[in-house]
Every structure is written in structure tokens, then in C-alpha cells.
């Protein structure tokens, strides 16, 4: 399998704050790779660095063999990458349909079928197709953001917390869609998810990002078995009564 994405030693700053401290990871074609990590670990920063929304200070990001560091995001997107960002980021004054059309901005040709497909996934969007996206509920906007990402028909999809604010039912559906796209259309996925349980069941490979560094990597099966993962990401409870003593076990990799 060829590497779609090959990240080497990336360091990204917010002014003086170092958010990524030398991250390396790779995504092979046809894989679903997930990145786990606590709050503020730098997952969003990593995604933005890949899609060119932020410039790393050091390191290389190779997408299909081309080093894309320093390229404008639109250039990278045109190469076949779609980024579904954290916090939805829809176009509030455009209608839902226009938002979806914007998703296919880089792609010529007939997009009607694809819009129909998105509507099939998320029927509520069809109902509201001519309404401004700004009025949608949080979860509906999330559906729209994902739908917009799908419209690009990308080779590689970056999904930053796709289940944020979605109902349990929809979360299941989203992950089913992700799996289906991966299986049927060979879309490679890089997935950041707080719902580690689902993520680790959906993805093939996983990385754990903490404080801007990769602290653990492996296949999802391996990761699921790790104690640390179980404790901190899967919410395995020591047998305590509800509301009783809450002590924390220290993470072993620090």
C-alpha cells in the first residue's frame, strides 16, 4: 500500500506557544486512521497543518508524494483532500444547497447526484435546502459540514470530531457512512474523535497525541487492549460507586 499522507517531524506554533512538538505519522491508501488525544493535545492543530490552514515551522507533510508545506489550502484541496473542520464552519448566509455546492467547488461536472446522495444520508437537509445554514441546529450544521466534505469526492478526508453534537443514532450512521465510503469508494480517512470507542472500532490504525507529541501508535486492536487507552479513552471504571471517591490514575507515558 502506498502512503497517501506522510508527516515527518512537524512543529507548529501559535505565536510563542508550541502546539505540535515534532509529530510524525503516516496514512496509507485505503486506511482509516484515527488520532486520539485529550483536550488541547493538538489534534485540531495537526489537522489544520495538514490541510494548509496553518503553516508548520519545521517538518514536512507529503500528500501523494508532494511536499505541501507552505502551500495555500485551496491548492491542497484541489489535490484531493477534504477537511471537515472542528466546529462545523458552515457558510451561515448561504442556503444549505449552496453550502453543498461550495463543497464541490473544485470539481467540475454534474453534482446533482452527489447532492442527492447527501440528502439521502441526511434527509433533514433536503427539507431545509433553501434555508440559510446559519439557522440550523448545531447537529444539523454538523451534518451539513460532513455533507459538504463528501461533496468534494476526495481521496483523503480529514474529519475533526465528526460526531460532535450528533445524536447517538446519527453518530452511528455517520460512522457507518465513513466505513462504507472507505470500503466502497476507497476514500482514505484521517479521523479525530472524542468518542474513542467508536473511533477505535471504525479505524484500522490509531495514534495517541498528547501535549503535541505522538505517544502511542499501533493498530486499533492493539490500542483497544492497552490499559491506558481503556482507562482514559474508553472510560473503563474502576469499581467505584457513583459519586464516591474520584482519584485519578496517572497516565504512564509522562
Amino acid at each position: 500500500m502506498t502512503k497517501v499522507l506522510d508527516i515527518r517531524n512537524v512543529e507548529t506554533f501559535y505565536g510563542a506557544i508550541m502546539a505540535l512538538r515534532g509529530v510524525s505519522l503516516e496514512v496509507k491508501e485505503g486506511e482509516i486512521v484515527t488520532i486520539l488525544g485529550a483536550n488541547g493535545a493538538g489534534k485540531t492543530t495537526l489537522m489544520k497543518t495538514i490541510s494548509g490552514l496553518m503553516d508548520p515551522e519545521k517538518g514536512t507533510v507529503e500528500f501523494n508524494g508532494e511536499n505541501i508545506v507552505g502551500k495555500q489550502p485551496d491548492h491542497i484541496v484541489r489535490k484531493g483532500l477534504a477537511h471537515v473542520p472542528e466546529g462545523r464552519e458552515v457558510f451561515p448566509y448561504l442556503t444549505i444547497e449552496e453550502n453543498l455546492k461550495m463543497g464541490a467547488y473544485c470539481r467540475g461536472g454534474d453534482i446533482r447526484d452527489d447532492i442527492a446522495l447527501v440528502y439521502e444520508y441526511f434527509p433533514i437537509l433536503k427539507e431545509r435546502r433553501n434555508q440559510s445554514a446559519g439557522f440550523l441546529s448545531g447537529g444539523q450544521q454538523q451534518m451539513l459540514a460532513i455533507g459538504r466534505g463528501l461533496m468534494a469526492k476526495p481521496k483523503l478526508m480529514l474529519l475533526d470530531e465528526p460526531s460532535l453534537g450528533l445524536s447517538p443514532l446519527l453518530t452511528q450512521e455517520i460512522f457507518a457512512i465513513i466505513k462504507r465510503l472507505n470500503a466502497e469508494q476507497k476514500v482514505t480517512m484521517l479521523l479525530v474523535e472524542q468518542n474513542a470507542n467508536v473511533a477505535l472500532h471504525t479505524a484500522h490504525q490509531g495514534y495517541v497525541l498528547e501535549m503535541g507529541r505522538i505517544v502511542m501508535a499501533g493498530s486499533c486492536e492493539e490500542l483497544r487492549k492497552s490499559d491506558d487507552i481503556q482507562e482514559f479513552y474508553l472510560g473503563r471504571q474502576e469499581e467505584t460507586q457513583r459519586g464516591q471517591k474520584r482519584w485519578k490514575r496517572r497516565k504512564t507515558w509522562r
Binding site: 490541510s51 495555500q72 485551496d74 484541496v77 457558510f91 467547488y105 440559510s132 439557522f135 459538504r148
Partner: protein
């Protein structure tokens, strides 16, 4: 009768305000920034056109001269965005206000240095010709102004409504990050809109020049055009035109029928009245945030 005459003249003047206002709105629609040098771009456009057309300068025929001027000003607009405005991409909008105020000074200096400060008269084919329709006298330049403005507003409106680029421009203004990640080359789209705005201000400048003489200070008109855009609800193309016409019509009517001091203030009073009743202008797309 006289009233109709006044209204028609007012509409023509208002169309010029409207045209300059269109320049404001274009840039606002694509970036949500306000270009305080819009009036000065109109001034520069008028001078460039004069440089093309007038016998002592370029001596080109009128229409090709104006088209060439519009193209040159498009280039100026593009350059301004490419080399200056882009440097502050993503920064708060206030930065652009200051940047463009300063740029206005630069434009005025440039015009003064190239064409001098003595007023100059653009040689137009319509100067002095009038049309008499049942006692109502319409200058050719007024007629041209009205027609050109209507066509321009319509086509710009269609551009934003129906073209992919127009949609992309609006998207960029609403969320630059999202626009980038769907593949809109936001930088380039912005530059293109600035270029368009430069061309539109040239047309406005030419039509303005056809009514009198021009000097580097005519950019002052930008303030009124700004008011026009605001009345219409910044960001609405038809609104800008309507706002311009409203001011344009109120002015002469007030000057005709109201005592001195008041007629001076009338456009501003009307504007305040509009804003007090509709704080976001007539057609603004502003909603309360959904939380």
C-alpha cells in the same frame, strides 16, 4: 413638472453615488471589509480615463479610452489587494479601514503629481447635449448615467447570484477558513473583486466627470456614497443603488423647497431616519445569531 425634473436629475446624481457605493458593496460582499479609498479610486479612475481620452493626453476615442481606463484601474485594484491588502489578510477589519484611509492619501498624491491640482474637464461625447421630453430636460450624460448604472447593477447582481465565482466570493466573506477548505482560492478571489471594484469606480468616475470638472479632491464624494451603501444595507447591490438614488433625489428637492440650513442636512436626516427605524439599512442580510 418641476418636481419631475428635479427627481430625474436627482436620480442621475444618485446613480453616481450608487455606482461608487457599488464599489464599496463589492468589496464588502467578498471580504466584509470597508474600503475607505473607494471615493479616491473613483477619482483616480476619472483621471485615468481623462488621460486616455483627452486630446492633450491619450486622445483615444471615448468608448475604447474608457474601457482601457477601466482595465487599467482593474489592474490598480488588483495590485492594491495583491501587494497591500493581502498583507493583513485575516486581521480585524479595522486594520483595513486605516490601510485604505492611508491609501486614499496616496491616490490623491499620485493624481496630483501626475495630472496637477487644477481642475480638468473630461472630453465626453455627451457634454452639453440634452433631450427634451415634454418639457422635461434630460442631459445626455444623465441618461447615460442612469442606463449604465442600471445595467451595471443588474449584471453585478447576477454575477453574485448566479456564478460560481460570485458564490465563492460571498462564501469567502462569511468564513474565510471554510472557503479555503472547500478549495476557494480566497486570496485570488479577493484580488479579483478588488479589480472589479476598480473598474466599476472608473465608470463612476467617468460619469461624474461628465457633469463638470475633476480634481484630486472629488473623492470626497465617497462619503456620500458610503452613506448610500449604508442606507441600502451594506452588502446589498440593489440596496446601494436605491440608497444612492434616495440621497440623490432628496438633495435637490430639499434644496428647492426647504430653507437653506435644513436642505444641507436633509440627506443626513433622511439617512438617520432610515437607520433609526432600520438599524441595519433597508436590505441588509443581518440576522441575530442562532445560539
Amino acid at each position: 413638472m418641476e418636481l419631475i425634473q428635479l427627481i430625474i436629475g436627482g436620480i442621475a446624481t444618485g446613480c453616481i453615488y450608487g455606482l461608487v457605493a457599488l464599489g464599496f458593496v463589492l468589496i464588502y460582499k467578498a471580504t466584509e471589509g470597508v474600503n475607505f479609498a473607494q471615493g479616491d479610486m473613483m477619482m483616480l479612475g476619472a483621471f485615468v480615463a481623462l488621460g486616455m481620452v483627452n486630446s492633450e493626453f491619450g486622445a483615444l476615442p471615448f468608448i475604447p479610452g474608457v474601457i482601457l481606463a477601466a482595465i487599467i484601474m482593474g489592474g490598480v485594484g488588483y495590485g492594491v489587494d495583491r501587494f497591500v491588502v493581502r498583507q493583513i489578510f485575516g486581521q480585524p477589519h479595522f486594520a483595513l479601514v486605516i490601510l485604505t484611509i492611508a491609501m486614499g492619501f496616496v491616490f490623491r498624491f499620485a493624481a496630483g503629481a501626475i495630472w496637477g491640482f487644477t481642475p480638468l474637464v473630461l472630453e465626453t461625447p455627451f457634454a452639453g447635449n440634452t433631450l427634451n421630453i415634454g418639457g422635461i430636460i434630460i442631459g445626455y450624460e444623465d441618461l447615460t448615467t442612469i442606463i449604465v448604472t442600471a445595467l451595471l447593477t443588474l449584471s453585478l447582481w447576477a454575477f453574485f447570484q448566479f456564478t460560481k465565482l460570485g458564490l465563492a466570493a460571498q462564501a469567502s466573506s462569511q468564513n474565510q477558513m471554510a472557503a479555503y477548505i472547500v478549495g476557494v482560492p480566497v486570496h485570488r478571489v479577493n484580488s479579483m473583486i478588488w479589480a472589479l471594484s476598480g473598474a466599476v469606480s472608473t465608470i463612476a468616475g467617468v460619469l461624474y466627470a461628465s457633469k463638470g470638472a475633476i480634481d484630486p479632491n472629488i473623492g470626497l464624494l465617497g462619503m456620500k456614497a458610503f452613506a448610500a451603501a449604508v442606507i441600502g444595507g451594506f452588502g446589498s447591490l440593489p440596496g446601494a443603488l436605491l440608497g444612492g438614488i434616495l440621497i440623490g433625489v432628496v438633495e435637490p428637492i430639499a434644496a428647492r423647497y426647504l430653507p437653506g440650513g435644513i436642505s444641507q442636512m436633509s440627506p443626513y436626516i433622511i439617512m438617520l431616519a432610515v437607520l433609526v427605524t432600520r438599524p441595519n439599512g433597508l436590505f441588509a442580510q443581518i440576522y441575530a445569531k442562532k445560539v
